[in-house]
């Protein structure tokens, strides 16, 4: 499979000149339009954006509340961005955070108000205070100034057992380097006569030793926890991680092949002495998860992937991001999940 990865990266090399000559390269000019009368534009208004994914296996409920930034208005957009300085990329925060909202969560005529966490810029409540239970329907409301939004979702009843999993070591070689990594998959059995949606998720946690020069140009290594990118069937952010039992009800399921690699990037140099980052001896930890998800969760996450694909192509039909938030945007979704933690 490594070949395919290489080919994909190579083919992207071609894509750039292709698009370059095919259109964008010939673009003669970019004009910022500030003279389009409002009557020509579809109706635009600011909305509250909610993001919350609840699960009985979590220790808390967390809700992000932000605002959308309409076109041609005086609302400022704290757009996220990045600057590149040599090999370092610094990301700016993306925000438009709403910190004065009243956020409530309710089920079975019981409701609670969530607290705002200034450091993390989110609203939360511990599950000790408000328990999330499989099969129950929850309603989330948020209110800030004259904006109101509301969403409902039902937590999937069943926590599906992971029947088995397989992990193998693997290696990726390309022109510049070779990396060690792992490939893995999960198996489970679908519950009969029930519509189920699944997501498989994984994370690979490992430690690298990051170099710096101390006194007398002595190299000092600092341990640093790092997470690897995960691919499913060789795609980052893969839509294949989302599965449905439509037409295969009650079957045994196998996840797509997941892969993750260990890499220690970065180096420092002083007076011609160069020190590279390296992997520590600490064993990596692989977490494999099987999520039984509600339709809102599935549609929302899949639509984000589609949106990103369409956004890369200025000629493609736009792909709207799914929302189940009334009078607002974003998603209130739920999962019921099983976890396996593997020390490698």
């Amino acid at each position: 499979m490594k070949i395919i990865n290489k080919i994909i990266s190579q083919t992207k090399l071609i894509l750039i000149p292709l698009l370059g000559v095919g259109g964008l390269g010939l673009l003669s000019c970019e004009t910022i339009l500030d003279d389009i009368p409002a009557s020509r534009l579809p109706k635009i208004e600011q909305k509250l954006v909610l993001a919350s994914f609840i699960s009985p296996q979590d220790t808390a409920v967390i809700v992000r509340v932000t605002r959308s930034t309409p076109l041609f208005t005086d609302y400022l957009t704290n757009r996220g961005g990045f600057s590149v300085n040599g090999k370092d990329t610094t990301f700016f925060a993306q925000s438009n955070v709403v910190n004065d909202a009243k956020v409530t969560l309710s089920a079975d005529n019981q409701d609670v108000t969530l607290k705002y966490d200034t450091k993390n810029e989110w609203y939360f409540i511990s599950q000790k205070e408000f328990k999330i239970i499989g099969g129950k329907t929850y309603t989330l409301k948020a209110e800030s100034k004259d904006l109101k939004a509301e969403a409902t979702c039902t937590v999937p009843l069943d926590q599906i057992k992971i029947d088995s999993y397989a992990v193998d070591s693997t290696e990726e070689v390309d022109l510049f380097r070779s990396r060690k990594g792992f490939q893995f998959s999960l198996k489970w059995t679908d519950i009969k006569a029930k519509a189920n949606l699944y997501r498989v998720r994984a994370s690979l946690e490992y430690e690298i030793l990051s170099p710096r020069f101390g006194q007398g140009n002595q190299v000092i290594y600092t341990p640093l926890i790092t997470y690897s990118n995960i691919t499913w069937d060789n795609e980052f952010n893969s839509i294949k991680a989302y599965l449905s039992d439509e037409n295969v009800d009650g079957n045994k399921f196998t996840s797509p092949l997941g892969r993750a690699f260990l890499s220690a990037n970065g180096s420092v140099s002083i007076n011609g002495v160069r020190a590279e980052a390296k992997l520590s001896d600490k064993r990596p930890i692989l977490t494999l998860e099987l999520l039984n998800i509600d339709p809102n969760y599935a549609e929302y996450h899949k639509s984000i992937i589609r949106h990103e694909i369409a956004e890369d192509n200025p000629f493609a039909e736009p792909a709207p991001v799914f929302t189940n938030v009334k009078n607002g945007l974003g998603c209130f979704g739920a999962s019921n999940r099983s976890v396996v933690v593997v020390k490698l």
């Binding site: 395919i4 071609i14 259109g23 004009t31 109706k43 076109l71 957009t77 757009r79 961005g81 977490t287």
Partner: protein, 838 residues
Amino acid sequence: MSYLKDLNSQIQLIKFPHRGAGGFLMTRCKTLLFLFFTYFSLSAQNRYTISGFVREKGSQEQLIGVNIYVPNTSIGTTSNTYGFYSLTLPESKSLMLVFSYVGYQRVEKVIELNKNIELNIILEPTNELDEVVISAKKQDERVSESSQMSKIELPINQIKKIPTLLGEKDVLKVLQLMPGVQKGSEGQSGIYVRGGGPDQNLIILDDAIVYNANHLFGFFSTFNGDALKSVELTKGGFPARFGGRLSSVIELNMKDGNKEKLHGEGGIGLISSRLTLEGPIKKNKSSFLISARRTYIDVLSKPFIKAAQKRENPNVDATGGYYFYDLNAKLNYELGKKDKLYLSGYFGNDSFYADVADATTSYNNGINWGNNTATLRWNHLFNQKLFSNASLIYSRYRFGIFSKNARTDADTDITSVYQLNYDSGIRDYTFKYDFDYFPSPKHAVKFGLQSIFHRFTPSATVLKDDNINLFENKVDDIDVVESGLYAEDVWSPVDKLKLNVGVRLAHYKTNNTYFLRPEPRIALAYKLSNDLAWKASFAQMNQFVHLLSNTGLGLPTDLWVPTTDKLAPQNSKQFATGLAKDFDKQGFSVTLEGYYKQMNNIVNYKEGASFLVIDNPEAAEKVEWENNVTAGKGWSYGVEFLIQKKVGRFSGWIGYTWSKTQWQFPELNQGRVFFPKYDRRHDLSIVGIYELSKKITLSAVWVYGTGNALTIPLSEYTVYNDSSTPRNRFGDQTRLFWPSNRVNEYGERNSFRAEPYHRLDVAIQLHKKKKHHERTWEFGAYNLYNRKNPFFYVAGSSADTGGIFGGGNQVLAADNQLVLKRYSLFPIIPSFSYNFKF
């Protein structure tokens, strides 16, 4: 009228009694057959047939669509695709026949008709400057004469005088200047006819279907004007001989090649150069034509790319580039008076390549796409009234990606190679047999059949790797048979009325689907006065092949797919009516037409579905295309006005269209009606060509069109993913709910109208006759007043500068506004070219 009486008596005659119930069907069939032949072979006393071929003086090129008529009567016919005509008339001591054709001197013949006569005619091209005299002679082909409506014919020599982008003459772009025909995006050769998409055009070159008529992503069409004899576009009132697409038929015919002497034509332009040679192989018996065109950006830029790469890294060799070429070739041979053979072919290819190599490693990557067609035709004249043509046709469109990497291990000196080839495309073998039957001046019958054996290859991947000894070969072919059986009759029951009545039986078969659909076609023209006709038509069409196009641009990744059990055939019904008037003295004609078209099962992508295989061939290969498309319906109506002057010192046209197109798809825009992207309320083209003197031709084109209907972002917001798995939810808060991205909120589908599109192009041609050849310098300007026409819009932050790819060393300001940005493509683009003829 005596003719009608004859017919009635014949019908009476065949009403003989049936012989029992069992023989009923048989008798019915026999009756019909009998009726069919007696109907057309009514033998009035002493009728004789005049038939023959009409050719051009000098080249012996057979002329298509020449009017042959008896003056001051309604008796007349036109020559067919092979220049053949036939007229059967009562005996006459002195019969005057007129042969007239746009741009040629008319010929009048007086004959004594007391036997069947073969009469071949040679027409001589006229000099445009002498036109004043000619038009007074009513030489024009008259729009009020023909029963056909909604048809556009382009004189090739006019195409060569119209200013174009970078001086590349392009027939499809000239068709876009006609009413009812629209362009898509800036500079694109895609054609939108009466609310239909570019997938709904049947483009046929010498009987062969051309599946992708684009070079360089649609900026240029695949057709080289030097090799063409005629171009016709039919947008409604389709005759029964055409089928398989909903919206239009674009029929192109290649020149046969000069039968008398060697002749050449060519040009050197900014983008490409071209050369055409034609001449006799055996004088007046057989001839050839070969015409080639190639771009040379890649050749010119190669040293610069190499040098740039060397500066960056002297150990690495890199080249890359793009080119396209096309080649038209034709041979014909006269076997005898009654038989002719034609062999013609088209070969075109676009190629993108990038090669990188250092001491141990080499990469070769590329993308190729192109059409090949080949047509073998046999004309046979059974008798003076029955002409036939049998065609064997091959057509193929292929899109491929190749990627090859060779790596030599420095220690072991072993070279390992891996290779991936991805292919998609369509391949056709077609058999076609057509008959032209001219029983009497009141009838011109065409009938025939056509069978296309399609092989669709939505994707085929070949993967090789020495290292792990991997070899994969995935082919996903679908075989389909598509056939049509048709009959049509141009029938003139009374003097003032001309009908074209026909039916086509469309048949389609794959492994698991089968369709048999009759398509009735009718067109009529009624003469209100000598130069004014009222016309109406109705046509039903089916389309069994669908084009999956991601972008609306002519990208090579556009994929033809068949109708399957999940994807029904598209079909349409179109009604059109209008008036056609000739102004003989002034030498121009005016047509006014209205149409209503309904389309069912048209195909579009689901929201966000993607087929851009370039990004990831391996993933695309697994895409279930049937699940990514959705079907819906659409309707379109409009009014078209055309005033056209085809010949003369000043020629050109004004075309205006008012139209409205709407779509409704259950799965798009939440089932609500919306405007497709290329719905266009107003579309105006003004084209003028003026022959200032024998040495100077001036031309100009001005176009105006309502902006495209687009979906634009209304606002922007941050989406959060439930993407991470911290083992301790509060232990690793930064990764929890990692903001995925800023995304856009869109309004109703296509609810934003882009700004109107308009543009002025001009050109001047300087002709000079030299001793052995004639040369023409052309200087032109595209978008003369530098209008910034919208190509697309994006929403972005007001301080965000730089390319659309983002990235790079840019720093985005923290606070700024969200604004709409317009990207436009072509500013004023001057061009020049040198053309010659000998």
